[in-house]
Symmetry: C2
Subunit: 412 residues, 2 copies
């Protein structure tokens, strides 16, 4: 048992928001407020920027009910940032400033809720504090719809986005085949480097109403093969639904979304509408059929009304375990999940992973889950993702519209 | 009381699908199956095309539970069409064929579920049958997310789409202001001529998390004024969210979505991504701020997981009342709604409107509900639409994904 460390804590949120990142925030804040060794709970506005700018909210002044609504409130309630910390060996300005703020508020706990980059930020801050001899426990709370953090079975936020995507695909499937004339429907899904979210569209396919074809960034994209795939499916079934990851790229590494020309399709004009529009244009030009490109855009990461209850509960747990572990002496770690799926049952156990191992690492969809033709994922994906999307929360509503948390955000 | 008319009925669906058009289908089918004077219930595949092609499903062979799931299944379960009937005085080929099919199956009731054009189709068929002396009762069942049918207070399908739009805007609002850098978010919403759906985004605004600016096709669009509006809001609030109807047009009547150039923005290249991308491009070029264009696309009309229970129940009622009224002798009518909103209470009464009066008429958002600057709608819209979106259905699910109706579709 480590020594008892008494002092304030700072919690911050970083990177792209999710439907459930605030459930983790609530897990941290509620647990910290309830523990006598944490003297004050401070929320950093816009992540580490709020620390640097001394913009810290006194979370103890928030109404308990409003705080509880964070479980159902999408996007980062404290505000987020995309701020890259310098290497402290080259430029320690930011770190000195953080130390100054930590001293000012007697901060002994720092909890940072984010993805790869945030774990890196955490790690750097922790190493710096150790070097200058300032006692402080630094912990990462995972979140990313991209699901690409190393070691952990999955990441808070992924499942709710996956559920939004699968449900939306199932509804689009009904809609896109309603006429007696066929249609190709191309759905663009987030994920620059890892195809987890796009692969989740296969949940709809296995439920009987999803994409016929799925393309991930884990493998190279070939425009000729794509057009031939669509042509074949359309001729066989009279309709074709496609899910594509925004990060699909040609064999030379260039993103299809940025392609001005390709050897086969010859469309070379400026594109505004993103990947779905580019592919829709290519299909229309080559096959001459009715095509609709649909970008799920920000909706997929903020669609809290379709959040997975499992995801909400696990996100809360990640926040709660982070604080409890830090109080017990842990530092330089991220709480991740070790899961077991067996005969239809699913268990999820929180586990600590060293920040140095999760920072800057990236987990992708296993190549063995992708079929030989590179246009579909296998049953493994369903077995993996289905337990994660289970359960519907009782959403707080006002006049049948969402009732999100309203924070006072009183500066400390 | 009219004479009892015994015979088969045909029900068909036409035009763009909605989240609840199948609730009306269920209202028709369930009521017709339960009445002894309707000898057989036939579902036309792809609307009137299924009649012309003799593709009629025997709805009596469907499983009762699967039929009940139609209340929660988006898109037109029987298939839809966009087939324009000729003027019978000029070309009566189709009408002769319909009469032939009616005689073949002893069809004495024809129920057609659709928007303006479908009411016109209904009307023409009815007049033809009267002229040739074939006894048959022809009724229209309203549906359209556009909410533009005349006389009726509102149309089945509108409220669920409105709820999807308002909820999505509220979630996007949380997401689009998460960073310490501002953003302009432009949401493109359906509606070529009537702005009801885009106006419904104001439900989010009045709930405290919606568009700052709303542009409808009821008034002319001015690009200079638009850019000045966005600039002002962005400077005042640090962010700006805009809802635009796909049908907004310049004073000369040309759609903004088809504009190649305008006097002020000077962007003249081919556009693929639709209106949201065009406006996002114009804002970026003029104001140099971060912009995101989001098209709600087909999602807004098939998002049954956000359907309004009020809308589902009213849609079912429209189908049920159609059959009961026809059995009682009514013909050449559409069931619409007469509603009262008073001191927070809302009542909806089904009323019959003559098809001749609803066919080809179009109801738009009253100009008095649009502000002087033409960039927002007033409280009247909220008072009108809020009662319609109330209530959440208990959605049938399998593994936390939607469980839609699976029809056998046995040909008669």
């Amino acid at each position: 048992m480590a020594d008892i460390l008494k002092g304030a804590c700072i919690v911050g949120q970083s990177g792209g928001p999710t439907s459930v990142i605030n459930a983790s925030l609530y897990g941290v804040v509620r647990t910290a407020l309830d523990d006598p060794n944490i003297t004050r709970v401070l929320g950093a506005e816009h992540g580490i920027r709020g620390v640097l700018d001394d913009r810290l909210f006194d979370m103890g002044q928030e109404d308990a009910y409003e705080l509880s609504l964070l479980k159902y409130t999408p996007s980062s309630a404290l505000g987020s940032c995309r701020y890259k910390m310098a290497d402290p060996d080259k430029d320690d300005t930011d770190y000195k400033r953080i130390l100054e703020i930590f001293k000012k508020y007697d901060v002994r706990y720092f909890f940072y809720n984010g993805g790869n980059d945030s774990m890196d930020t955490c790690n750097k801050i922790s190493k710096y504090m150790q070097r200058v001899g300032y006692e402080c426990r630094v912990m990462g709370v995972p979140k990313t719809i991209d699901n690409d953090l190393a070691h952990t079975d999955h990441c808070p936020g992924f499942a709710s986005a996956a559920k939004y995507i699968a449900t939306s695909c199932m509804e689009l499937y009904q809609d896109a085949r309603v006429y007696n004339t066929g249609m190709v429907c191309i759905v663009e899904i987030m994920g620059r480097h890892a195809g987890w979210l796009t692969a989740a569209a296969a949940l709809a396919t296995y439920a009987g109403a999803g994409p016929d074809l799925i393309y991930l960034p884990e493998v190279d994209f070939d425009m000729d093969a794509f057009l031939a795939d669509v042509d074949r499916v359309y001729k066989e079934r009279g309709n074709c639904m496609v899910a594509v990851s925004e990060g699909i790229h040609y064999a030379d590494g260039s993103f299809v979304s940025e392609a001005k020309t390709s050897a086969t399709d010859g469309f070379g004009h400026a594109q505004l509408g993103g990947l779905a529009a580019i592919l829709a244009d290519a299909v229309k030009a080559k096959l001459g059929v009715k095509v609709r490109g649909i970008e799920l855009s920000l909706l997929q990461r903020c669609g809290a009304h379709l959040a997975s209850l499992t995801d909400i509960n696990e996100s809360f747990m990640a926040g709660e375990r982070t604080v409890k572990n830090a109080l017990a002496g842990a530092t330089d770690c991220m709480v991740g999940f070790s899961c077991e799926r067996k005969d239809g049952s699913y268990t999820c156990t929180p586990v600590l992973y060293p920040l140095s191992e999760v920072a800057n690492a990236e987990k992708k969809v296993p190549l063995s889950w992708i079929n030989e033709e590179h246009n579909m994922v296998g049953r493994e994906l369903v077995d993996y993702a289905l337990p994660l999307i289970q359960g519907e929360p009782e959403l707080p509503r006002e006049h049948s519209l969402p009732r999100f948390a309203k924070l006072k955000k009183v500066l400390a």
